[in-house]
Every structure is written in C-alpha cells, then in structure tokens.
Point group: D2
C-alpha cells in the first residue's frame, strides 16, 4: 500500500500529466481525480493516452480529497485557495495554480485580481535552500511555467552578481498546452499551426513571480504562442556586470540538481529534447555586437513547467527520492 494522493482539476492538461506521472510512480497510489464538468466521466474519455486506467472523475469536493496523504491542485487561478482552506492541515498540498506563489499581495492583486490568499513555500527545489524548505513544508506553491524556465536561466547569475538585475529582457515561446484545454477559437489547430503570435505583451502575470524568484528588479517578458503542443523556450538576455563565466556560474548552481543540465559548449537547447521529461536544458553565450549575455532555457511546460515539478516537490515533501517517478530523458524525435 503506497502513499495516497489525489488530483483536483484532473481534466485539464496539467491534470492529465499528473495522472500519468502518478500512475507510473512506484510509491504513489491515486485515490481520487476530480473535475467539474467531467465529473462522472471515465478519465480515459478525456485523456485517451491513459488507456486502461480504470478511474472515474469525482466532483471537486473537499471530502473527496481530505482522505489523501497529499493533494495536487490543478485548478484555474483563484480557485485553489478556498479548496485548500477546506482541507485538514495534515493533508499535504501542492498547488499548481498561482494563488500562493507571490509574497507581494499588491502584485497579486495587480496581475491576477481579487484578494491575495497568502504565501506558501515556493516549489522550485533548485533555488538555494529551497529543497530543504519544500521537504519541511505541508503547503507548496508550484512554479508558473514561464517562471521556471526563466528563473532557472537567470537566478544564479543575479545571485552571483554576474548580471545587472535592472535590465533583463525575456522572450519566451510556449506550446499551446500552456493555454489550457478550454475550447477557444484562437487555440484551434487551424489557427495555431503555422503561426507564431505574441500575447499578453508587456503584462504577463508571471513577471512578479520571476522577479521574486530571481532577484531581477526590472524585467520585460514577451510571451509567444508557438505551433507545437508542448515546450517552452525562454531567451533571457541581460547585461553582464563582471567577468564571470556564465556557464560556470550555472554549472556550479546546478551541480547537484538532477533535472537541470547546462549543455556542452556549442549545443543550444531544443524544446523537443525535453518532451515528457522533468528536465531543463540551459546554454549561455555572449552577443558579439551588444555584449549582452544570452541564456536560453528549454523545458516541457507540462513537465518541469507544471506536473513534473509538482511531483518533484511531492517527492521531497514525502521523503522520497527527488527523482522518483520522473524522467530525466525526453521523448524524441
């Protein structure tokens, strides 16, 4: 008998990926998967990739979840806080939503609207001291997808004083699953295939999260929707402030991180190489004309950007090996 886990909001893309990871995890037992409109439907009607998984969506009720040792919340922003508040303190919670990521309540209200629900331990184990903090926590706020891609590229460089924290420019492109499973015309295959287009230009809600996690004090983020189901490629540029070798700074920061890889010199990240994995691939170089430092980061937005990260946090919270049930290797081509 393993550790009992449940997923609230399991009919979305991050929820489906959580179900896959939990189903293949040696120590976790799925006791409930909940949904709103899909309650009562077989999980495989929504997630045909989970063929043979004999599970029916329950309604998203606290009582259904309270029985678990650990609950993953994969709900729309703003819905996690109320549900989490209704769960016993003894139930560990990993929230894939944004409700508890920010320390700055004003920033929360500005970017998400409504009242801030409080701050939880930030679920990015690769930040200094964070692995231990997560292991000790019962409530963890999982990272945003753009936030993890950008933070892993940038945080060690800011911490090392290697770049100016006041001048960071990020352009990050994401596969369409990052926009969710709700039926919208602009997300139809006919619209997105063959297309690149920016969105939420100059005002993406992951900006305060990235600043908080990296120490950047001014950051321009332009998100782009890319014609692929999964993957984020973040191009992070900043002004170097010294002679530090950025690759060495990054390599040192992630020497003990099983999922973050500074690629061999000359190799640049490919999102396709991270598909289905919990890995982040990094490379850094200097622009010969402007002298700006360029760090590029690739992740699977549903893996290290959402569900994989959440399982990594859960492993730490439950005293399991950090890598259990997760893959370092992607599925390619």
């Amino acid at each position: 008998m393993g550790i009992r886990v449940a997923v609230a909001g399991a009919s979305g893309y991050a929820g489906g990926e959580l179900l896959r990871l939990i189903a293949g995890h040696p120590e976790l037992d799925m006791v409930a998967a909940t949904a709103h409109r899909q309650a009562g439907a077989p999980v495989t009607a929504v997630h045909p990739q989970l063929v043979g998984l004999d599970l029916v969506f329950a309604a998203t009720e606290p009582a259904t979840l309270a029985d678990a040792d650990l609950v993953f919340l994969a709900l729309p922003h703003g819905e996690s806080a109320a549900l989490a508040a209704a769960l016993p303190e003894t139930v560990r919670v990993v929230d894939l939503g944004a409700d508890h990521r920010l320390r700055d309540a004003a920033a929360w209200t500005r970017y998400y609207g409504g009242e801030h629900a409080g701050t939880w331990t930030y679920g990015l184990p690769e930040l200094p001291g964070q692995r231990a903090a997560i292991a000790a926590a019962t409530r963890v706020a999982n990272t945003g997808c753009y936030a993890v891609a950008t933070t892993l590229a940038l945080a060690p460089l800011v911490a090392a004083g290697a770049v100016d924290p006041a001048d960071v420019v990020v352009v990050a492109a994401s596969g369409t699953s990052g926009a969710g499973r709700a039926a919208k015309t602009n997300l139809l295959g006919s619209e997105v295939m063959g297309d690149l287009s920016p969105y939420k230009v100059g005002a993406h809600q992951h900006v305060p999260e990235i600043k908080q996690a990296t120490g950047a004090t001014s950051l321009s983020l332009t998100p782009v929707l890319a014609p692929m189901p999964r993957g984020i490629l973040a191009t992070v540029t900043a002004v170097p402030t010294g002679d530090a070798d950025p690759r060495a700074v990054l390599a040192r920061a992630y020497a003990d991180a099983p999922f973050v890889h500074v690629l061999p010199e000359g190799a640049w990240p490919h999102t396709a190489a991270t598909l289905g994995s919990n890995s982040c691939h990094l490379q850094a170089g200097v622009d010969v004309d402007s002298g700006r430092l360029i760090v590029v980061s690739a992740i699977d937005n549903l893996g290290k950007g959402a569900a994989g990260q959440a399982v990594q946090c859960a492993n730490l919270m439950l005293g399991l090996p950090e890598t259990m049930g997760l893959s370092v290797w992607g599925i390619a081509p």
Copy 2:
C-alpha cells in the same frame, strides 16, 4: 549488476528510442551503443533528449557486441544478417531490421533484393503461441512498423473467419521518423509540414510480412507520410464473412495482452495518445454503405512499431515481466 545489453545502430531514431528505454529499464545495463559515422561521438550529440547519459558511440564491430547478454540490431535492412552471424550463439539477438522476418525467400528477394538470410522467430508476442515462442528463442525478428499496426487489427479477424482474407485494403499513414534520420530533401521540415503524400504506392515491403502474420491472401497497402514526428494510423478494411462482432473478436484475442487495447465503443484511435508508449489502440465498425468492416489501429511507430516491441521481446527472452521498462500510457497532448 543487471543484464548486459548492447545496441548496434544506435544513432538512428529507433536506436535512440532503444537507448531511452534501456536507460530507464530496471534490469538492463547498457554495455555498448554502436554507430557507423557517429562512432566516437557522445550519444548526446546525436540524441540531445538523452541529456546526461554518459556514453560514446563505439564502432559497429562484433567484438564490441559479443560480450553482451542480448544485442539489439537497429541497422538498415540487409546489414543485420552478417553481423548476427558473427555473434556467439549464446548472445541473444533481437533484430529490428527486416532480414529475418519472412519465411518466403522469394518474397524477400522480390521486395528487398539480395539473398534471403533465413527466418527467425517473429517478434509479435500478441499472435497466438508467439509469446512462448519468443521466450524460447535466442534469435527474434522484430516486426515492421506498418506490419504491427496492420497485423494487430487484422490477424484475429482472419483467424476467426470473420473476414475474407482475399480482399483487404489498408491505407496507413506514418509520422516522419518512420523514414529514418538520413538527410533527404523530401523529409525536410519545410517539405513535410502541412503535407500528406503517399509513397511506395502499391509495392511496400511490409506486404509479404503482413500476409504471413495475418493469413491475408491478397492485400493492398498504401503508405502515406504524415506531418508529425511519430505515430502510425492504419485503416484496415475487409469484407465480413459472417456475423461475428469484430470488437468481440478483437477483445477476446487481446484479453491477456497488456499493450493492445480495444477502445470503448464510439472512441476511435488517436496516434497522439500512443506517443512514447508501447500500446496499440484499436477500434472496429461497419461501413453502412458498403458493408465493409473497418478496423483502425494506432501505435507509436518507434514504440510498439520498433523499439518498444523489441524491448517487449527482450523481456520475454530474458524471463522478465513482459511490461518491464515499457509504458502503457502515452504522452499527450
């Protein structure tokens, strides 16, 4: 210390998928991965998805492979036979190439050219009696990708006398990885994205293999190249000869097969749902106008269509659980 395995021809797409599966397999230890032109290069230079895998391609020499308990051959058609002949009898071999699949030497010569190298145990465990045959064999000829998709859809129906074996029409579309990793203009992303096109029309080399494996006596196969990296969707139509319920026939045939799934009524296979898995999804129905039976089959051409199937055979040959190191579930979306 696990079971020692080696992969010859590990720089191609099937080879890369084999490396991924072996690296994640609890009982297999990789002792060598060989290549021709890439010999001496790090595996990750060719397969960046295997980040962190500390392995260098060796040259493809019998001596390099002879030390393994089991060798996978992922070589171009016609190259396996000579290499296999140079390996000790005690080394188990799974050949992903076509060299030893056919019993009919004349058919081999007609479709592949050259002299036939002999027949090995056919590596499709879901055929009646074949699981035991593979477990007892030291030389196994892994299935062709179109062959496995078509055979799993058709063989039980022919065996049950439910369809006329003399009138089978198959149109099967494959992702581009099925065409290999050699640089060819017609396989460039610019050419294949947004494109569907048939190839080898009326003369594909998997036809004799499918006839041998299914009992069909006349079969038209039209392969189509589809704009996606992985996946085969085979649409198999045949004339029913009785009142048998095709879904029931298929369900009975695969009751004990962990990787073959007859979908719930009304659900038709999606190749995307099989990505990265070793599963085959099946559904059957009857065309209201013509009365033809239509069976549709979806697999990952590099999974159940190649490397996954090979590992499944290896598991059987080595006395391991058939499903070890393989996933029933796909990565989606």
Copy 3:
C-alpha cells in the same frame, strides 16, 4: 464598376477564403459579407490575413444580399435553403453547403436529417457536360470537400468502365479547417498537432454525393483528421475491370480542365503543393499484390474543395473566364 457579389456566412474558414478570392478578383466587387455572431465586427478582426480590407460584417438578412448579382452561401448545412428561397430569382446563388447537392431526398434525410430542399445544378465543372450546365444555371450547389477530391479521382474510371463501381474503398485525410471554425476541444491545436484520428467512420455524409457524382454503387469512405490546417489527400482504390490505362483515362477526361492535373509518371500528389490554389493533383497506379487500382488525389479543401470551386462556378455562371481570380499554383513550401 464590376459585378456585385455578396457572401453569407463570411466569418467561417470557407467564407474567409471566399473574401480573399473575391477581393483579388478583377471583375467581382464585394458588396456585403454577412455573419451571425460577428455581425458588426470588422472583417479583419476575424480574418487578420485580410489586413486593410475595409469591410464590416453585416447581419445575415435576405435584404442585405438581394442587391447583389451573385450570392455565395457559406452557411452550416441546413441553413442555405431558407435563405436562398428568400432571394429574388434574378440573383445568382452558389451554395457551398450541402442542402441542394443530392438528387435522392431519402439519402439527404438519412445523412443530414430533416427534409430535403430540392436539387440544384451540381457545381463540379469537370464532370461531363457540367461546365455548360453550370454556365446556364442560376442556382448551383457547390461540391463537398471529400466529394470533389474523390470524384475527380474516380468518376472518369467508372464512366470508362475501367473499374467495378460496386467495390470502391476510399480513405481520405483532411486538414483541420475542414472541421470549421467553431471552438471545440477536439479541434484544439494541442489535440490535433501530432495526431491522426478517423471520424464519422463508416457513415460520412459525402458518401451519397460521391456515389451520385461518380456512378459508384458501393463505397466505403473513412475520413481522417490530419495535423495540418489545409489539404485533402484521398486514396481511392477500386478493382480494375479491363485493360484500360488509368492514367490515360484520367488525362483524357481532364485534357481541357485547367485545374485538374494528372502528374508525370512516378510523381504522387502532395497536399502542400495545392495550398491556396484551385488545383487538383492526381496520380494512379496498380497495387502489385492485390491488383487493385489506386488513385490518389490532392486538393486544398478550402480551394478546390470549397471557395475556389465556388468562384470557378461563379465565373462560369457570369460568363467570365473559368480561371479568373484563381490560381493554378500552390504556395509551397
């Protein structure tokens, strides 16, 4: 001052392509483009590719359309009949919907539901005698997308007695724009990219239309959704009944058809080569194992499969050159 045309249902994909073709047509003047929910919105808010086109969607009212010389109806099936009935007889109408395609009222009711609204001249100019019939008509029922791809491949062979009309098997894959612009989960980019899946298996509503247009008496059609925005590839197989050279039969049938091309021997159709054009590419061969004849047809489903065909018909009805405002050449890569 040109000929005055209007488009009803201009907010869909076929409607948008009609607007593009009309805007670039030397003799046609757009006087109205109507929509339901988008009425009042600028056309470019829905169709950003028509940048600079200064036009606002009107509501779909007969009065708005009655003023035109020719009206294109690009409405959902079942909505054309009522609107057409409300237009003056003097207004020419090309209906891109299915309402008036079938001669068999029972087939209409079986496949579409509801009562049959009557039969109009069938808008496939390449059928024998049809070019003149269209030129003389004031009401034309434009072809279905799968119907035109299949009919152009098959009709001359049936007419020539070269194939058995009672045994035709078609598998036809379409890009996602064929499924329309309504927001549905199964059409999201995240779902369709990397995926092939059949739909409406064994019961597609184009079957009676194809039988009527080709003379086939029994026909199995399996439609497949393909991961690309546009294009249909139809693989048509039939049993030859004589020694006729199928390429010669096709070449003779289309000797005077500017948009239908039998490709040079050895070249098979690519849907990508038809993008944005009104062309159909054809090739034929014989399956060596089964002896079945295989004819493959490629079109742009929004071009020759919908809007292009409609403009071709309009040209004929208006006494203009058949090819005016249409391209033989596709946009590739």
Copy 4:
C-alpha cells in the same frame, strides 16, 4: 510581349517563390530559370506546386541570363557578385543574396568571410527616400529576411528619436524555409516539428545589415528556428527616450506603404496571416514592468522577406506599379 526576366538559383525556396510570383505577374515573362545540380530537370520536379509550368532548369551561365531585361539572383551568399559582374550593365539585377547589402566592407568580411564585392542600392522601399533610389537603380541588393522584419519595426522609431539606438534586443523566430532546401539532418521534419531552438546565437550575419538600415548602434539578435514552413516573428524591444506614441510614429512612417500595416490597437501580429503575401504586420506596446517599448513584426520570410520584396523592387525598377503581381492578403488558416 512582356518584360523579360530570369531567375538564377531557381531551385531553392526563394527561387521557387520567385517563379510563382513571376508566373502570375501580368507584365513579366519568364525567359530562364537556372540551377546547378537540377539543371536539365523540369521545374515541376523540384517545385510540384508549380504544376503545369512548362519550364526546364538551365545551367547558371551568364549567357543564359544576359538576354533578360531583369535578372533575379537567388544564389548562396558569395556567389552573386561574380555572376552579376558578368552581366551587361543594361540588364537590371535584383540580388536576393547578401553580397552587396553592406556599406561596411569590414563588417562584410567579419560576418560572411572573403572580400566585399561592393555596395548596391538597398532594396527596402519603405525606408525614407529608398523607393526613388530603387526606381533609379539598375543594381539592387534585396534585404535579408530577419533584417526586413526587424528594420520595419525599428527604423522609424530610431529616426524619430523615440528609442535609444544603443540598447536594442531582438528575438526573432523563423519558419524552416529560411534555412534553405539543402538536406541537413537538423532540418528534417522529425527534428523540427514540436521543436523550438535558437541558432547562431549572438552572431547572426543580419546584425550589421539591421544596424545600417535602422541606425541602431548596438543590437542583440537571437534567431530561433520554429516548427512551421514559413513566417518570421520578430520581437524588438528598446528603451523609449521620450513621449512619442510608437504606434503613431509607425503609422506615419508607413502611411503610403501598401504592404506595411500597423494593426488596430489590441491586435498583435500572426505570422500565419502573412502567408503567401508581401505584407508586414506591426504592433507596438510598452512593457508595464520595465518600461521597454516592444514592437512585434510578422512577415512571410519567402514573401516580404525574400521573393515578394524582390518583385516589389523589380516593379519599381521597371516603372510598374509597386504592388503589381503581389498580394497584400495572406492565405489563412
């Protein structure tokens, strides 16, 4: 009898697009299309989208081209200069290669290698005074694809003093046709579909061209390969230096430019909306956190980024209307 034009290097992607545009151009007659390895082959064997075009590739010899009124050179960088030098002065030339774009010979040598061949009139008609310069020229250096996307977004803002020319950061993603038609493993469909990856990071050869054309004095350009055949999306960020409304600056600059469109407020560019057109779509906004100005530009890399631009220049050089034979509207979806 029209104006006689020829295309050298017509077997590549830009060459194929030139052939399509010329074939549809009311005033241009194609007298020769040349290639290297494909000399002697029918054009349609390489470009099946040009079905019915009865033309055979000639060898790339000056004598073949000297007879034309205007020659387009679509050759690899470094090959245009010698060929152009061998053509009579009376033959107008538009060079799609980079050989004659730069005024700074040292920059040429640094980025392209070899000796600089001299500077021609720069073929971007939308720059101030450039329309007239092109009309008066007999030798025109067509723009680079990233250069045109970036320059149209940036040049008016630098000229108006609205941004700091010393701090420009560009991340620009391109479809795969920008990488050409040579068969390379990293450009295979299997590799690029589902993938985003940067390349030539920090050292792309279009940087000096963009600086020359825009007046930027320091510019970081990170190019990204995107999973689509065509399209460039350039995200240009710069530090505002005053209160100028960037949209107003851009709108004023392109008031008379038929192909450059500042989108309505709130609408951001989509590359898919430019497919097959000669248009550039622009939008600008300000990042709320950093205060940086963000301008996004979308073009078809083979249209406004190469062949379309070249025909636009040719129209001006030949005294024809600037828009003749070119489309403002894209093909979508």
